[in-house]
Amino acid sequence: MTIALRLAQFVFLLLSAPLLLGAITRLKAILQRRRGASIWRPYAELGKLFRKEDLVPGSASWLFRAAPRLAFALTVTAVAFLPIVWSNGLLSFAGDFIVLVYLLAFARFLMMLGAFDGGSSFGGMGASREAMVSVLAEAPLVLSLVALAVAARAGSLTAIVAWTGAQDFFNISVVHVLAFAALTLVAIAETGRLPVDNPATHLELTMLHEAMVLEYSGPSLALIEWAQAIKLNLMIALLIALFAPWGIASGVTAGAILLSIGLYVVKLGIAIVAIAVLESCVAKLRMYAVPEIFGIAAALSILAIVFTLMMKR
């Protein structure tokens, strides 16, 4: 029974990703007083791309087409660890959040290789900028997760979630606040949202993530877009699970599950509104200003670790 629940939760996460993306774009449009496309548009887009042919540059090797597929697979596996509705994710074992981080790193690694293979200077540029961002993002990400793990004295994600769940709502420890701040900064950079990289435009100067995928078309592009959406969904789910896990059902009774789904949807709504508001009122940062963000994130996460010492044992 629990396996089915975990599988359901896993599939739900995969499928709901484009919906999330659509909702955010729609909300941003409303904030800018225009009607905006329907929230189901990303699905249509993916369908269209899957049917188109795959255009491959002459100099590219088989890696060019293999990279997006493998990256997609990796991102999908990364999602498997997340417990959002039900208390533990599809897979959970000691130190699994590190595996999650490195799975994402592997996906990025392959995307960069794909960009190189394209043979155009944009690919290289995108890859090198992505490298800079990812390098700086990884340290705070790991540090904040370690801080949480140390605070919760637990090895795996599900254990941390269970522990935070047990804490009552109001005495939020300092560690959590700091870790939450650091993680949000990193999440923004990781998923390529506005202050770090504008997902919408294809302007040479600014684009970070798009530059890498410029050469792709057809199903490869579809997979990349979907993986991107899943990553966004994953980040948000991670934030929710780690910092607002109350109400996650641990038992098997239908009532508890329904309640947790309801709560999750509410939390998701809040997150979407937050992202939309943030993106519409912030301009894109200059590329070399981005390291400052990571400086702050790193400082926050180190502080979080220092505070874990103060935690009562």
Partner: protein, 377 residues
Amino acid sequence: MAGGISALLGILYALSESDLKRLLAYSSVENLGIIYLTIGAAMLCQKNGAPGFAALALLAALVHALNHAIFKNLLFLGAGAIQYKTHSLKLNELGGLWKTMPATGAFFLVGCVSIAGVPLFNGFIGEWMAFQSFLAGAQLSHPAPQLTLALSAGALALTGGLAAACFVNVFGTAFLGRPRRMQIEPETKMPLSMLVPLGALAAACLVIGVMPMVLIRPLWALVEGLIPGGNFESGAKIGSGIQMVTATVLIAALAAILIRTVVRYAPTWGCGLASLTGRMQYTATSFSKPVRTVFQPVYKASRKLEISPADKPYFPTAISYESTRTLHYEKLLYRPIVNTIMTIAQQLRRLQTGNIQWYLLYIFLALLCMFLFMRFR
């Protein structure tokens, strides 16, 4: 501490390196740094009465050392193969080798991926166990070791990230895209004798990556001997965890690959330019430029830009840009020691005046000193 510093510095220098072999050498410095980090962690845990975690940390060090041996070996042999083919190891000149050396390319890819320390490959196993030992160590009661271990986890993450970026750079510039400016003799076929070892090592990387228990079990017995009382349950779980991860990845990858696609080959889109030449691609140094600007204080690179003719800066006939980076450790650590020794030696040399009277004087003085020594002894 030393491990952390050497890891960070090693990878930073590796990133800004454009010669393949030097880059690999620096990355060895980095990996050794990581190994020292884990050994340090083992010692800390041992001292603070946590033999279980100490055993784990030591095991991580051993595992990483072995893995490092395998994939570093693979990369060096690969570099040898490249040199055999193209007689040059300057990354900025290589490119598009995948077409001419598909087999070596594939094996080299496996090497690069495993050194980047990503799951499914053996580089990750060592680093992951290192993380776990840091995590476990961080739960020790004393504040000082706890803090150091936690921070070293951060350092390890940073080095991991840098390593990944660095080896993307290596593989991308060397094998993918179009050949920049170097002549390849297509007809020199890679001799089988070169390919077999590469293949074997790549296979080893994969096998250990997927089934780490193959490596961990024998090592565990060794560690057990060294630090009694180490618990093995965390080790066992590692193996099973990895298996599950690999299973899911394989299923997902299969699903993705099954999508039928119609493939069409077309020249890469050059924004309307006549044709994209190889030189337009990003080279190794340009790839690492953003990271280098971020870590400017470490490199203290000095830049020299000459535009000729000097009077008309906007109609340059030739631009030369040259940036050199200072090697800190060289300047601060080794130079002074060597200088002091040399000055002392010069002074001593002057003692050997060549005049016999001085020699006799030395003997009498020695006698006098010994006499006094005898007096007071």
